[in-house]
């Protein structure tokens, strides 16, 4: 009797252990949060509903499209990517809890985004203590890469590199070696950074006139344009949102001014040009590192197909979408390189070893290294063609490579 009971209990115990071993529930290993037998969770933090959603949401859609494509192609080493996206609403107070959620509450193996520079500034110092790698999406502020943060990987070129290209192109655009430049920015950390960068570079014939701030959500920029008229610059360096660009164009239309603006990435997007005549809309051009449709490169067809499958086919002409898509490809490659059982550390190491990774020409090739965590270091100016509702590149990436000084990587 007792031996039969003992056998039965033993059988139950063995069965329970066997079932636990076969379980596909969350990994119990503390070394691989966000990784299970069949999924790997990747988080994003970006503005989805705040004042810069018109720029950041297409980026997120690009990431989604890339991950959907990867999953449709079978995933990575048997695992599908599970995207957990958090909305920071352009607010540090919301971004920080979102980060903590992705670190521990609904843990992810890595995070992408921090596209709002104030949020990036607040969270980047937390990456090391959380030991979670982050691949930035649309902003790389100075503090994140200089000195190097071992867990921060800036996919997008630094503001220093962007300003280098902007001023190089500005000289060609205004056809003057000596010219006066003013800055319009949104008053955030990265906006002030751009102001400082332009001021530093106001040497050898470039004169800095001053800066005005257009805060996110402004209803009118008449007063700011009045100040710009007082500066009377040859060209304006712009940092802000497509809504602000649109307001400036409308104000220029009203006041009959024609100041050319050259913006940082990602200040543009098709909505910047909506509702404005080409005469004033085309005063705005901006530098980018992502190649939008219909500019054809090797990876364009795959990107367009992935966008269509994900329901975002109307966004492929938006460089912000392409930047997100390329970012998704980079993260997928890092996961693959991290091995059969990826962890946060192995993904971090894989990102750092990424060398000359091709996104099919959608961006310049991506390279990181132990001493350089800025993945893309080339840009090209884009202009909007109203007749085709598409962007055109002004030259090629190689035309502007010599202008870049890599200030933050020195």
């Amino acid at each position: 009797m007792h031996s039969k009971l003992g056998l039965a209990l033993g059988a139950v115990a063995i069965t329970a252990v066997a079932l636990t071993g076969c379980s596909t529930g969350p990994s119990t290993s503390a070394d691989s949060p966000g990784v299970t037998a069949d999924t790997i969770s990747i988080g994003t933090i970006s503005d989805q509903t705040g004042p810069t959603a018109s720029i950041q949401l297409p980026w997120l859609h690009g990431v989604q499209s890339a991950f959907d494509k990867v999953n449709k192609d079978g995933g990575i080493n048997g695992r599908k990517i599970d995207l957990l996206s958090e909305d920071d609403k352009y607010d540090v107070a919301i971004g920080q809890p979102a980060f903590k959620k992705l670190v521990s509450q609904t843990p992810t193996a890595a995070i992408m985004g921090l596209n709002t520079s104030n949020v990036q500034a607040a969270i980047t110092p937390l990456l090391k203590q959380s030991a979670i790698p982050l691949l930035s999406g649309q902003a790389t502020i100075k503090e994140a890469v200089s000195p190097i943060n071992p867990y921060f990987f800036g996919l997008t070129p630094t503001y220093a590199d962007q300003v280098d290209v902007i001023l190089d192109y500005a000289a060609k655009r205004v056809d003057k070696k000596n010219f006066t430049v003013a800055v319009i920015d949104n008053g955030t950390a990265s906006g002030l950074e751009v102001e400082d960068l332009v001021k530093e570079r106001a040497v050898d014939g470039i004169k800095y006139a001053g800066a005005v701030v257009i805060e996110a959500g402004a209803a009118s920029v008449d007063a700011q344009l009045q100040t710009i008229i007082g500066y009377d610059p040859d060209v304006i360096v712009f940092h802000g949102t497509s809504s602000a660009v649109n307001l400036i164009a409308r104000a220029q239309e009203k006041f009959g001014t024609h100041y050319p603006l050259i913006g940082i990435a990602p200040s543009g997007g098709p909505s910047a040009f909506a509702g404005v005549t080409p005469e004033f809309g085309n005063l705005y051009e901006y530098v980018q590192w992502a190649t939008p449709f219909p500019i054809k490169v090797k990876g364009t067809d795959d990107m367009v197909a992935a966008a269509k499958a994900a329901g975002f086919d109307k966004e492929t002409n938006n460089p912000d979408f392409v930047a997100g898509y390329a970012g998704g490809l980079v993260m997928a490659q890092a996961i693959k390189d991290a091995g059969d059982d990826p962890t946060r550390k192995s993904i971090r190491d894989a990102l750092e070893k990424l060398d000359d990774f091709s996104t099919g020409g959608l961006t310049p090739n991506v390279s990181f290294g132990p001493k350089d965590h800025v993945g893309v270091q080339s840009l090209v100016p884009l202009k909007w063609d109203y007749s085709t509702s598409a962007f055109e590149a002004i030259g090629s990436y190689e035309d502007y490579t010599d202008a870049i000084t890599n200030e933050y990587q020195k």
Binding site: T49, V213, S242, S243, F255, G275
Partner: protein, 290 residues
């Protein structure tokens, strides 16, 4: 001097919109004693209703205006029936929370239908830049100021000269006493919500002529709150004047200092006025008799 006048004119244009929206705030507050945090989102709804009609039905902008006003009126009545009326008699905090919930609901519905990306009106009010003695003003700015002036005139006459207007004033002064003499408070509240929603929708339509339309328009609507407080929370002309003052101060501060200082200066002025005159510029001190 031209620059100063230019900034004042620009301020009057944007301030007119704040004033129009503040008028709706004040109307609802006067009638219900509830400060509606949904007013900014009603501005956004007005803008998106216009966008929807323009793009889905291809109706010209001038024809869209009356349709949006009718839809806004119906929305106001619905809000009164399903949000304010059931809450009547509840503690003030509960009523305010209800307006916050309404605000989030309206925003959520707009996002579901139109997403969070910015859109633009395919057709708008005529927008030609005029040069009047060196001061630039767009025809759309003149239209905005004209609409606001008309609104003050219409509502001023309405409250002074019409029976319904008199009843609304009575309800606002003392709803219990007004009910005793046979004034239907519920009907007056409905009318207040209707007018408040319609003025918000007008504000949204006008803002959509100045900029891209996005859910962020609701935050511009909230700038009319200091306008209402500055002018006097129970004063209709005060709300509009408050809006004009907020608009002008904002433009002057931005023009002569910078955009970041404008917010601080605007609210600094509000604070000073309230310290000196807590009832607002046009408000009157309440007298409580024991």
């Amino acid at each position: 001097m031209t620059e100063f006048i230019q900034l004042v004119v620009s301020g009057l244009a944007i301030g007119s919109i704040y004033g129009l929206i503040a008028l709706g705030f004040v109307l609802i507050y006067k009638s219900t004693d509830v400060f509606s945090f949904a007013q900014g989102d009603l501005v956004m709804v007005g803008a998106y209703l216009g966008f929807g009609l323009l793009t889905w039905l291809g109706i010209p902008f001038l024809a869209v205006i009356p349709i949006v006003l009718v839809l806004a009126a119906l929305l106001g009545l619905a809000i009164q029936r399903f949000v304010f009326k059931p809450m009547m008699g509840s503690p003030l905090l509960i009523m305010v929370m209800a307006t916050i919930a309404l605000s989030l609901l309206l925003r959520g519905v707009v996002v579901i239908i139109w997403g969070t990306g910015a859109v633009t009106y395919p057709s708008t009010l005529p927008n030609v830049a005029l040069d009047i003695f060196g001061v630039k003003i767009a025809t759309v700015d003149l239209i905005i100021m004209g609409v606001t002036a008309l609104a003050i005139l219409i509502f001023g006459l309405f409250f002074r000269l019409t029976r319904v207007g008199l009843h609304m004033r009575a309800i606002a002064e003392n709803s219990e006493a007004a009910a005793v003499v046979g004034i239907n408070a519920n009907r007056m509240f409905s009318l207040a919500l209707l007018i408040g929603t319609v003025t918000a929708a007008v504000g949204g339509l006008l803002l959509a002529n100045l900029q891209l339309v996005s859910t962020n328009i609701s935050e511009l609507g909230l700038l009319s709150f200091p306008a209402a407080v500055l002018g006097g929370m129970r004063s209709i002309p005060g709300s509009v004047v408050g809006g004009l003052i907020i608009g002008v101060i904002g433009q002057l501060a931005t023009g002569y200092i910078n955009g970041t200082a404008a917010t601080a200066i605007t609210f600094g002025v509000l604070l000073v006025v309230l310290l000196l005159r807590p009832q607002g510029i046009f408000g009157s001190k309440g007298v409580v008799r024991a």
